[in-house]
């Protein structure tokens, strides 16, 4: 895999090599084992992926229970929302 192909995969599928097509993973790992530039590209991509993966704050137990109760109360409404 060339550095250009590696960068293209990063730009398209992000830094999680496990989510890349299986036939590209071995070539990417081989490049990473020998290229400091590729390692640097991956490091920066991992940081950016971390932002994109930021989880939404979870619901509090009270609010989750209230939402679930509201849904269950409305099950017999005739309309399809």
């Amino acid at each position: 895999m060339s550095p250009k192909q590696f960068r293209l995969l990063i730009d398209t599928l992000g830094a999680d090599v496990a989510k890349w097509p299986p036939d590209q993973r071995a070539a990417a790992l081989a490049l990473l084992s020998e290229s400091a530039d590729a390692q640097d590209v991956l490091r920066r991509a991992v940081a950016f992926d971390g932002q994109l993966r930021t989880p939404e704050p979870g619901l509090s137990p009270d609010r989750r229970a209230s939402l679930v109760d509201n849904i269950m109360k409305r099950l017999d409404d005739d309309r399809d929302p």
Partner: protein
């Protein structure tokens, strides 16, 4: 199906489907700590079991509220989540375990609901959507998590709708490109193109 070429040159059309099917088939399908899978619960729901449905809703409501926050905005997220689960209940007899994982079906219903809300809303600005206060963590954690999540959410909501959906499913929901393609009813090349363009825009927006 789109005829866009793969930006990463990753796969030829002839083998995309089998790869996608393999990935979906490998989905653990939401087996929870209570030991009952989504599929098992959904089979009971199909027969009208309300307790099984309550467990499914409780298991997935945070996920759907979070997805709606990203795709539409915080102010509407609770209402969208309620409509999504009511739609699932109304259409429970249509669900077939052979047609795919429960989560795939759930995401499809949720995204269609998000798109409907976005189209109904027409001209409401997304960027200024107020935060709905709700705190599952302590004050400091809430502050940091809310600040980062709000910043990313604001950026995601500035990119085109299909890119926003693809990016949200791929990164926020941690699905594979093949799973995103199945949920969005696109081919893999089209999803890769959406991911590439979305990521490029977000890199600019998030600095």
């Amino acid at each position: 199906m789109s005829s866009e070429s793969s930006p990463a040159g990753i796969a030829l059309d002839g083998r995309i489907r089998s790869w996608a099917d393999d990935v979906i088939a490998a989905d653990p399908d939401g087996i929870s700590s209570d030991g009952e899978s989504d599929t098992a619960l959904m089979l009971r729901v199909r027969d009208g079991d309300r307790e099984a449905f309550r467990r499914l809703v409780t298991r997935h409501v945070d996920r759907i509220v979070g997805l709606a926050r990203r795709v539409v905005g915080s102010a509407e997220a609770d209402d969208i989540a309620q409509d999504v689960f009511l739609k699932l209940w109304a259409r429970r007899s249509q669900w077939e375990p052979r047609t795919g994982a429960f989560r795939t079906w759930l995401y499809r219903v949720a995204l269609n609901q998000c798109i409907d809300w976005t189209r109904k809303r027409k001209t409401v600005p997304l960027d200024g959507t107020p935060e709905v206060p709700d705190h599952a963590d302590g004050p400091m954690e809430i502050c940091d998590a809310h600040e980062t999540a709000a910043r990313v959410r604001a950026a995601v909501q500035k990119i085109p709708e299909r890119q926003r959906i693809a990016i949200t499913l791929y990164y926020h929901e941690d699905l594979t490109a093949a799973q995103v393609a199945t949920i969005m009813d696109l081919n893999l090349n089209a999803v890769e193109s959406l991911l590439k363009r979305g990521r490029k825009s977000l890199r600019v927006l998030l600095g």
